[in-house]
């Protein structure tokens, strides 16, 4: 973003990138994904397919973790998880 544009009162209908622009969307969910570390094979399929980007990975080779403040609980991550020996590394539990 260009820093030298100064936003005064309604001059331009210009918005700024904001985290949580629809509020804390974690309120929407009825089920939450739970991460089970020993079944994770670090394939990062959950990271690839999370619509919201709430599955976070700090660097390649690290375990993923979930941002529960914004996770909407759609369950995509649980569905795509291949897991280890058919034991999924993610499961949905009631909120």
């Amino acid at each position: 973003m260009n820093e030298d544009i100064e936003l005064k009162d309604p001059v331009l209908p210009l918005g700024r990138p904001t985290l949580g622009s629809a509020g804390e969307t974690g309120d929407w969910r009825t089920y939450r994904p739970k991460f089970i570390e020993e079944n994770c094979i670090k394939c990062y399929k959950c990271w690839l397919s999370c619509p919201e980007g709430t599955i976070r990975v700090d660097a390649h080779g690290e375990y993923p973790y979930i941002d529960y403040v914004y996770c909407k609980g759609c369950g995509v991550c649980v569905h795509v998880c291949p897991g280890r020996k058919k034991q999924k590394a993610l499961e949905m539990i009631p909120e």
């Binding site: 904001t18 919201e52 759609c74 795509v80």
Partner: protein, 295 residues
Amino acid sequence: MKAKITEMMERPNVLLRGNFACAGCGLSIAYRTSISALDRPIVVIPACCSSVIQSLHPNVAFNVPTLNIAFAAHASAASGIARAKKMRGEEVTTVVWSGDGGTYDIGLATWSGAAERNENIIHFCYDNNFYSNTGAQRSGATPRGAVTTTTPEGKKEKRKSITRIMAAHDIPYIATASIGYPRDLYAKVKKASTIEGYRFILIDAPCPTGWLSDPAITPELGELAVKTGYFPLYEIENGNLIFSRKGEKYRDPENRVPLEEYLSKQNRFKKMTPSQIVEVKKDIQHEWDQLVRLE
């Protein structure tokens, strides 16, 4: 094609968390994957679901420069941006990010003009099969038999083949991709970004709210569309069609997963009669026959 996951992880996050997208949104997956592949993108968005996800003023969920424009003006606005930036010597990637309403129906005249002038734009169409932004009305992309709010008994006509219309413009690059295969999608966007001229990428983006399906199976629906032959994956480079490795074997009808498996997972096809299913199968075969002729 398959991109490396390490490469994808190094790219910036273009869609910020906590936006207005529905749970399990296919468009969000498509947006995150494709826009993150581009260097210095400027995104032009007509009225579509993306303008809803973008949130209310003054907060924006898109982490890249974005211009909102009227429905039928996307490609012309992008043409202007691309030319102005070229004159000023700035290297940017100008992107049109529109839904199927803006590409198949309303914006057709605009992009047709831009494609004819071969403007330096990447045009993405995320195809969720109807006008999802305004409440699921029928569009040119709605398949036969699908229930929408304006076709309560199921659509009677087959869906348009936008890629073949696009191919008639002789543009340098056309590709189809699916959110069921994000690494394939990323690789295709990366390839498109190295080519000059008007480039078009059609992305199959299931919509759980409008397709009346389970939000968790959004990527699976994307995969099933490819495996049943319903959404073929291919690239057209300078008029030559090449089927993608992921989707090539579904060219033979015997390798395809039964279409009923795909249809039964979406409640929008609930009112379909067996004779309509036969007709949809004929539509799919017709599309493949036409594509093979472009090879």
